[in-house]
Amino acid sequence: MAIKYYWEDFTPGWVIETPTRTLSEQDIVRFAREYDPQIFHTDAEAARATPFGGLIASGWQTCGITMRLMCDGYLLETSCVGSPGLEELRWLKPVRPGDTLRLRSTVLESTPSGKQPNRGTVLFRWDTLNQNDEIVLSMRGRQLFLRRAPAPPEQDSPKA
């Protein structure tokens, strides 16, 4: 796939909203059986008696869906070379079977790499919204991107 966005394209204020994905009860249970088998994620009947009042998706599945929305929305057309991590991750509202999620990505900050002239870091805010426009997941995290053009060498650095 051709690369459309490089590090230089992610400037503060850049914002994009992705298309949606809908999560079924089967998706929720299948993920949870493997990665997060708490009863409110795996057993619709038992989940009714919990404080959640019914089956909810594992928060980690919401993260996975968010990643998929990002990939399909724009990330696969970028020069992304991974992520060092997240500063903050908040599960603000439960995600339930049938919910339709979309992602809003906003660039907060962009920093050239100190060590690698062909890369830069971008700090994003990622908000995942449901069909009622409620934010269900909010994260702040960094991703690394290759630059379209390497950073010019610093004035005082010796030429090779």
Binding site: F52, W60, I65, R68, C71, L75, P84, L86
Partner: protein, 152 residues
């Protein structure tokens, strides 16, 4: 239903550790096709040419496995009421096919809830190590737990 662990059973400094959990290439590709289809997670050849020099697991799969190990370690036997979130997630080293991961979970802080006398929160640090003893991922998260007896 009664549990083994309630909020009162967690105390700062407690350390719990799991045995190993291995990850195959098929599992890495299957997860990534569904949740994180970047070439270095799903395509062995393209991954070889990437900065990672080979296939690596999605960081979200490592986080998922960390959750699974937490579940098996104590969470399924505890009066867990979910989590509001985590901080400082760091994917420190790539996880590769055949790696065997284990979890070290350390309780950092416990707090009674001011608004809910029947629950409290536990902040803990999760560290995931590979078979070489290298840290691959860490994070610090908060869990909500029911109390054995309500506070006053």
């Amino acid at each position: 239903m009664s549990y083994k662990y309630y909020w009162e059973d967690f105390a700062p400094g407690q350390v719990r550790e799991t045995g190993g959990h291995s990850l195959s290439e098929d599992e890495i590709i299957e997860f990534a096709r569904k949740y994180d289809p970047q070439p270095f997670h799903i395509d062995r050849d393209k991954a070889k040419q990437s900065a990672f020099g080979g296939l690596i697991a999605s960081g979200w799969q490592t986080a998922g496995l960390c959750m699974r190990m937490l579940c098996d370690l104590y969470l399924l036997e505890s009066a867990s009421m979910g989590s509001p979130g985590v901080d400082e997630v760091r994917w420190v080293k790539p996880v590769r096919p055949g790696d065997t991961l284990r979890l070290k979970s350390t309780v950092l802080e416990t707090r009674a809830s001011a608004s809910r006398p029947d629950m409290g929160t536990v902040r803990s640090r999760s560290e995931v190590y590979n078979q070489h003893g290298e840290l691959v991922m860490r994070m610090s998260g908060v869990g909500m737990f029911r109390r054995r007896s309500p506070g006053t």
